[in-house]
């Protein structure tokens, strides 16, 4: 078989003898390709320690290790990589929420110590730390969603003439999509004042298990209807998803859970106290979020709790401060109904200090909790601020809620740039629309829009509703009529331009330019610059006996005041914030509980 050609042809291979060898003499040091997946790099300043890299690693090559000097909104952990396990698949790089984790194109590393190959990129300094070349994610993060579903809201025309709730809440589809984006890092849990189990209840949404979700919510917060709508959502400011997209809409997801569980079902899930009554009595002054949360916890521990509330209905600032279009009263009532079901007695229309004294509470109850909120409005005290026609925002809001008649003129000026200013401006705008068919509200704020205190959406929605907001303007005088039948009544508001709001030390101290003066002609001026607690109920003796901390009642970490029978919390002690008040309520309840147990023990 075969021709002569078949015998000779193979010898042509010999021609390769005279060719230059193709082998590389020294392969060590050959530079890898530009996008080679080599040794890891981590920009530790960008890294937030969310642990998504650890989660995705199929070899368990990554461990999150505590490091020094964590920054705010950071877990304080950084990924440690074990090159005995790593397969260089780079899913850790792809999933990285901040884009801090990358890979250099370095691939040779010689060391006699096997432990050296387990290291924390970016923390343990490596020769390739500053290499430009290597693998990094191209374009956007693809392994989890970037944007949140848009929340359905009432259009400005549909909402301006009434107090209907603006936000519709997520549908099941939207909620699942949004819940899906969560990487369960738990940074939010650490940041939430009440430490709600956010990733867990978000997981419950994904599973469609709203009963479980409700159970999780109630473990840390009896005000999910409220917080699902108006929480300041500090959690969202640390969310890992915000770095290359929008933070998870945690607040709306919380609301979604509670929206899907009927009031009856909620009572079944939460149940009633499962302990024997202790026979001990606790008085709570003020039926706001702090007081009611403490009452809820204490009632579930078997104590008889009585809440004293000066207003006609419970809820405190949640009812009398927050307008109905942000937080409908029936939503608040549903939260409070569960608390009442624990046996908490709420005595409304009872003002401590006038109807009953604190001394009486001290005598009649085993412990007293003071959660009185910040119900006095601050006044600018500029000339004319005591004229008729000048109102305090907090007072007006309360009257609107209580159904009292409030004056509604055609032109109103609001002084202030916080959320309360927006609340009263938008409430007045609605009343004006109902009465005159048009809106005439001007908000003047000290702060410029770059440093505005109110939430962004509040500002946007106010503009949509036809409210004029003038930033960086400081009140100088409330001008009044000097003669005529309206003599002494408000005629307008005179303001100066604020040229800067920080002083040399970086403190907030507005600086005025008197050359830029405006007079806003209005019939009513509403002051919405700040609030303070009405501490008159304490009386001179107790005020003197208590320790104070820069104008507020001093409490220890558990909310205990310097008086052994008195605890304090909420806005009056820690400043305005619902979720903070809820957290205070839990702390106080725990502390009261310990004190009462000790007391019962001592009395045996």
């Amino acid at each position: 078989m075969g021709s002569l050609r078949d015998v000779l042809s193979p010898f042509t291979a010999w021609k390769h003898v005279i060719e230059t060898p193709v082998t590389i003499k020294n392969p060590i040091g050959r530079e890898a390709a530009d996008r080679y997946r080599g040794f890891h790099q981590n920009d530790t300043d960008k890294c937030i320690g969310c642990g998504s890299c650890e989660d995705i690693c199929q070899n368990a090559a990554i461990d999150m290790i505590p490091v020094d000097n964590p920054k705010d909104g950071d877990s304080g952990l950084r990924p440690q990589i074990d090159y005995g396990r790593c397969c260089w698949c780079a899913l850790c790089v792809d999933v990285c929420m901040t884009g801090s984790l990358t890979m250099s194109n370095e691939y040779t590393w010689v060391d006699s110590d096997p432990d050296a190959f387990r290291f924390i990129p970016g923390v343990d300094k490596m020769p390739w730390d500053d290499f430009e070349k290597g693998y990094e994610r191209q374009g956007d993060r693809m392994l989890s969603g970037l944007t949140r579903p848009e929340m359905a809201e009432l259009e400005p025309e549909a909402r301006i003439g009434n107090f209907d709730e603006i936000v519709a809440g997520y549908s099941r589809e939207q909620a699942v999509l949004e819940a899906d984006r969560c990487v369960e890092c738990g940074l939010c849990v650490a940041t939430c004042p009440a430490h709600m189990d956010i990733p867990d209840y978000i997981a419950a949404i994904r599973e469609g298990d709203y009963d479980l979700g409700t159970q999780i919510l109630y473990e840390t917060n009896p005000f999910s209807e409220v917080c699902g709508r108006v929480c300041t959502h500090k959690c969202e400011t640390v969310c890992a998803a915000q770095y290359e997209g929008e933070p998870i809409a945690i607040r709306w997801l919380k609301r979604h859970i509670i929206d899907n569980v009927s009031e009856e079902r909620r009572l079944e899930i939460v149940g009633t106290p499962q302990v024997l009554p202790t026979g001990q009595k606790v008085a709570v002054v003020g039926a706001g979020p702090a007081g009611l949360t403490a009452a809820y916890d204490l009632a579930r521990s078997g104590h008889a709790v009585t809440v004293f509330e000066a207003q006609d209905k419970p809820g405190g600032m949640m009812r009398y401060g927050i307008p109905e279009y942000r937080l409908p009263y029936d939503a608040l009532d549903r939260d409070i109904a569960v608390i009442k079901a624990q046996g908490v007695e709420i005595k409304t229309g009872t003002r401590i200090g006038t109807d009953i004294t604190l001394d009486q509470l001290k005598a009649d109850y085993d412990a007293t909790v003071l959660s009185i909120g910040l119900h006095l409005g601050r006044s600018t005290r500029v000339p004319g601020s005591d004229a008729p026609g000048v109102e305090a925002a907090i007072d007006l809001l309360r009257r609107i809620t209580a159904g009292e008649e409030v004056p509604v003129p055609k032109k109103v000026a609001v002084i202030g740039g916080g959320n309360v200013a927006m609340d009263i401006a938008r409430s007045m705008a609605r009343l004006q629309k109902q009465k005159f068919g048009e809106v005439g509200v001007t908000v003047t704020a000290l702060e410029d829009f770059d440093h505005f205190l109110a939430d962004k959406e509040e500002v946007t929605e106010s503009f949509e509703e036809g409210i004029e907001i003038l930033d960086a303007r400081g009140p100088q005088e409330i001008v009044t009529f000097k003669s005529g039948k309206r003599k002494g009544h408000v005629k307008g508001l005179r303001t100066w331009k604020v040229t800067s709001i920080f002083d040399e030390q970086g403190r907030f101290t507005p600086q005025y330019d008197e050359g830029d003066e405006m007079v806003h002609e209005v019939e009513m001026v509403v002051e919405a610059i700040g609030q303070m607690a009405d501490i008159s109920l304490l009386g001179d003796e107790l005020t003197e006996a208590l320790e104070w901390n820069r104008g507020r009642i001093a409490v220890d970490a558990d909310g205990h005041t310097s008086e052994p029978w008195l605890w304090g919390g909420g806005d009056a002690v820690h400043g305005p914030d619902v979720i903070h008040a809820v957290a205070d309520g839990h702390k106080i309840a725990a502390s009261v509980n310990v004190a009462l147990m000790a007391k019962a023990e001592a009395e045996k």
Binding site: S3, S9, A33, Y36, L91, D94, Q138, S144, L146
Partner: protein, 392 residues
């Protein structure tokens, strides 16, 4: 003292049940282990031969040396975590696993892949086929003592690995075809550098033609040796070049086009003799075709667009109940992934259909009796099998 050996052709005796009667005690037979450590075996398996002189009377294939269990590993990993391990099912041509798995997941999860990603996937698969055939060429030559071809092919394969490195960021396990698309587009100037590699490859393939296919020894050792009766193809599940060498023009790329194969023009090479020679020449022609396909892809593909779709959050990605079988034409035949999902975050079952399972186990056992010991290696290499996909 000198004594005549009895005529070997009368052994072994055929028993009443029609099977050979092999009694090792007689000293007429010898058990010979071909592998697992043997240059003539492809990967981690072995063949237990019973020889009578230099004639093989019986052969059993043994697998189990890998200790991996990929399919079971996959059931314990989330859908995204399976991605880095599938490539390890086949070392020389790992990309097929990535493609089949990704396509299966995409189908069950309802994910659309950008057009450009499909072109890049096709390119990657053809580059992988190129590498695999390079190894097959070197292997068949090496199995018959012609070592230099193996060295040439290794060199050319290395050049292609450079292209893999710059495109995918890795040389062997590319981990580049992800559910949803691919990780990146082509780097700057990739086409020109690829063309250089293809031209070098063609130069070496010309030499292969002269040194291997115009070679009396090679012809003598391969023609008519290791014949597979085309009638067996159906029952043994023979696919790919092994079938095409027997006159059956089976090719998934043509028969049920996937990715962008319907936009490429090509004819499937077919030979008739169904022996080692025919199988080698089919592979050689297929390799030439692959070079042509790579050129076609680079010329026709869109560039600079999206190559990846945004996935749901992969950390808790659940895929609805379903099952699918995704197949493609690998260098060894039909390669497929059967994926079953149960609505949870983990695959319920992944089955890898590697062509080596049938080719290297059942078929090889069938072909071995009656061959010469020296031909076993060539026979096995001519089937072009990779044990990890048998023992997955």
């Amino acid at each position: 003292m000198f004594s005549f050996q009895p005529d070997r052709s009368q052994y072994p005796d055929v028993g009443p049940d029609g099977k050979f009667e092999i009694d090792l005690e007689t000293g007429k037979f010898l058990k010979l282990w071909h592998g697992p450590n043997h240059p003539g075996i492809t990967g981690n398996m072995s063949v237990e031969l019973t020889v009578n002189g230099d004639e093989v009377v019986e052969g059993y294939t043994h697998v189990g040396y890998l200790h991996r269990g990929f399919e079971k590993l996959m059931e314990r990993r989330t859908f995204i975590q399976v991605f880095p391990i599938v490539c390890r099912v086949c070392v020389p041509e790992p990309d097929f696993n990535e493609y089949c798995y990704a396509a299966a997941v995409e189908e069950l999860a309802g994910i659309e892949v950008p057009e450009e990603a499909n072109w890049i996937r096709t390119l990657i698969l053809e580059m992988g086929r190129f590498n695999s055939y390079m190894m097959a060429m070197g292997g068949i030559a090496g199995a018959l003592g012609n070592g230099v071809i193996g060295q040439w092919m290794t060199y050319v394969r290395d050049l292609m690995l450079d292209r893999f490195e710059e495109l995918t960021g890795a040389r062997i396990y590319h981990m580049f075809i992800l559910p949803g698309g691919v990780r990146a587009g082509l780097p700057e100037g990739f086409e020109a550098r690829m063309e250089e590699v293809l031209q070098t490859a063609e130069r070496y393939l010309d030499d292969v033609e002269k040194v291997l296919f115009t070679n009396a020894v090679f012809k003598k050792r391969t023609k008519g040796v290791g014949y597979i009766d085309p009638k067996l193809f159906e029952s043994y599940g023979v696919t790919g070049p092994n079938a095409r060498a027997g006159g059956v023009a089976k090719d998934v790329r043509k028969d049920s086009p996937y990715l962008v194969y319907d936009q490429l023009s090509f004819e499937v090479p077919v030979e008739q003799d169904s022996d080692i020679w025919a199988r080698s020449i089919v592979r050689y022609r297929d390799l030439r075709l692959t070079i042509d396909l790579i050129r076609q892809i680079l010329a026709k593909m869109p560039k600079g667009g999206e190559v990846m779709t945004s996935l749901p959050n992969v950390l808790h990605w659940k895929i609805p109940r379903g099952e699918t079988y995704i197949k493609g034409e690998s260098s060894r035949g039909e390669y497929g992934y059967y994926l079953v999902t149960d609505g949870s975050g983990y695959p319920r079952r992944v089955n890898v259909r590697g062509p080596s399972y049938t080719h290297a186990m059942a078929l090889l056992e069938h072909l071995i009796p009656g061959t010469n010991i020296a031909d076993v290696a060539a026979l096995m290499v001519s089937l072009h099998t990779y044990p990890p996909e048998i023992e997955r």
